[in-house]
């Protein structure tokens, strides 16, 4: 018998094998379209940022923001549905799978999903010569770390609420502003001081800076350990919250 966590992962992968077509666009095509529209289209009028062609400058930003958006998007309706609509979570809980196994298996699945999207993106972008440094491979673990840092608290949130309207608000007031103001498309130094603090608080900004440092082969603005440490705090706190939320929700 497989370990319960692995069994949970397997269950999500089985579902993904049936439903992968539905997420083709958001996982693989959307980042490339963003890059074409803003990176190439608008980039033609921008020229360079800090001595780097604009399109090369936003590649790491688009990479990290795709991981971020996938982590948020995947952990909303699907997680709530497991409790509220399909009651798959209750079914799992009736076996020897614990709440903590469910959270871990789900996180592994999300990391898996984000990593394939990231690798495909890197390969395509690399083929067009938009990656300046061999350090670009270091973006893969960064993106995995970001995925957990974001997916864990969002999963916890989705497991604790009872109405799906909150997701529309989460998308509009957390996900979209983060994507637009966390240094993905323009340097956060341009932001007013107060808004910049909010950008620093977003896990996405830390991942964007780490990814950018990697693809351009330069040092990030803060020491690497500080960026990584910030993301780790989100991971640990998020996982803890998710485990608590799952346990509480499964009691009914």
């Amino acid at each position: 018998m497989a370990h319960p966590t692995v069994a949970v992962l397997e269950r999500h992968l089985t579902l993904y094998r049936r439903l992968w077509r539905a997420s083709l666009f958001s996982s693989f095509l959307l980042p490339l379209l963003f890059l074409a529209s803003i990176g190439l289209g608008v980039g033609g009028y921008v020229g360079t940022v800090g001595g780097v062609p604009y399109v090369e400058w936003i590649v790491p930003g688009v990479l990290a923001s795709t991981a971020f958006q996938m982590a948020v998007g995947e952990c909303t309706y699907s997680v709530m549905g497991e409790f509220k609509w399909t009651r798959g979570a209750h079914a799992m809980f009736a076996t020897r799978v614990s709440a903590w196994d469910m959270v871990r298996g789900w996180m592994l699945y999300i990391v898996f999903r984000v990593l394939i999207a990231a690798v495909v993106f890197l390969v395509v972008v690399g083929a067009f010569g938009a990656l300046a440094s061999v350090w670009s491979v270091a973006t893969v673990p960064v993106v995995a770390l970001l995925a957990v840092a974001v997916a864990a608290p969002v999963t916890a949130f989705a497991a604790s609420i009872d109405h799906d309207s909150y997701f529309a608000l989460l998308f509009r007031f957390v996900m979209i502003p983060s994507t637009l103001f966390a240094g993905v498309f323009f340097p956060v130094e341009q932001l007013p001081a107060l808004v910049r603090l909010v950008a620093y608080a977003s896990p996405l900004w830390h991942a964007v800076e780490l990814c950018r440092a990697a693809t351009l082969g330069a040092a990030p603005p803060w020491p690497v350990w500080a960026h990584v440490g910030y993301l780790l705090v989100f991971c640990v706190a998020g996982l803890y919250w998710a485990a608590v939320a799952y346990r509480k929700r499964l009691q009914d």
């Binding site: 289209g41 009028y45 309207s165 509009r172 502003p177 498309f185």
Partner: protein, 267 residues
């Protein structure tokens, strides 16, 4: 012609009743309200991020007629057109589909004297109210930020209504063909691709020729050109062409939608 056919069979009172049902649904709770209002912020955030943030890197951009404007002035009307589209599509795709397929709202309505075309018109009117709320608020923001002359902003408002009607009708027609929620990924894909490549963030003249040719037959391109022309005070005959495209789209969309409601629900 479409208007004539429509006018003969439609009762304003019955259409109004369909609209009234939607207004009544607002009382279902604060969350629907919040979602409705929050939709206004999306294009505004794009305007601030891309229009102003990236705009600081771009500087000024040529309009193609010799005039050069700041990048935010260029992007703002495009976000306005996009918010008209989003407002109308939010009601006529996601909500419309739910009402048709899962809540069986239309079956209940059609059990009364209300006809399919009246359902289509009522839903479209409601979608327009949402879309008009977004664009009016956005135009106000544009005027306050100095991104459009107040009079031209006022002139652009009816154009955004036309954009809303066209997308609302087309969205409704498409919704009647969707099989399930998984099809919404395709729908979102189409909507977002239009948003990214309709002369919204960069002039179509700068696109590769093949892409430009494709973009020129898609609806948001015409919406952006029409709204941008009016918001920037560039009156030219091409605007009439863009408007005509949207009128035709609205007519065809409405016709297909009411035919499909008839076929799917009344037989």
């Amino acid at each position: 012609m479409v208007t004539l056919v429509v006018a003969r069979r439609v009762s304003a009172g019955r259409v109004g009743a369909v609209v009234g049902r939607n207004v009544g649904a607002l009382r279902s709770g604060a969350s629907y309200w919040l979602v409705l209002v929050s939709g206004f912020f999306e294009p505004l955030l794009y305007l601030l991020s891309i229009g102003i943030g990236v705009g600081a890197l771009v500087g000024r951009i040529p309009l193609g007629d010799g005039r050069v404007v700041s990048y935010a002035v260029f992007v703002a009307p495009a976000m306005l057109a996009a918010s008209a589209m989003n407002g109308a599509l939010a009601e006529t795709t996601f909500n419309f589909f739910f009402k048709m397929k899962y809540a069986k709202t239309f079956e209940a309505i059609l059990a009364t004297p209300v006809r399919p075309i009246e359902v289509a018109l009522g839903e479209l009117t409601w979608a327009m109210m949402r879309s008009a709320f977004y664009t009016a608020a956005f135009l106000l923001v544009m005027a306050v930020m100095g991104l459009a002359e107040p009079w031209w902003a006022l002139a652009a408002f009816p154009a955004t209504m036309l954009v809303g009607v066209a997308f609302g009708a087309a969205g409704m027609a498409v919704s009647t063909f969707l099989r399930g929620w998984q099809d919404f990924d395709l729908m979102t894909a189409a909507q977002f691709s239009l948003f990214l490549f309709s002369g919204t963030f960069a002039p179509v003249g700068g696109y590769p020729p093949v892409l430009a040719a494709v973009v020129e037959v898609t609806p948001l391109y015409h919406a952006v050109e029409l709204v941008r022309g009016l918001a920037l005070g560039r009156l030219e005959w091409a605007l009439a062409g863009h408007a005509l495209y949207l009128v035709v789209l609205a007519g065809v969309g409405l016709w297909v939608a009411s035919r499909r409601i008839q076929r799917v629900l009344c037989s």
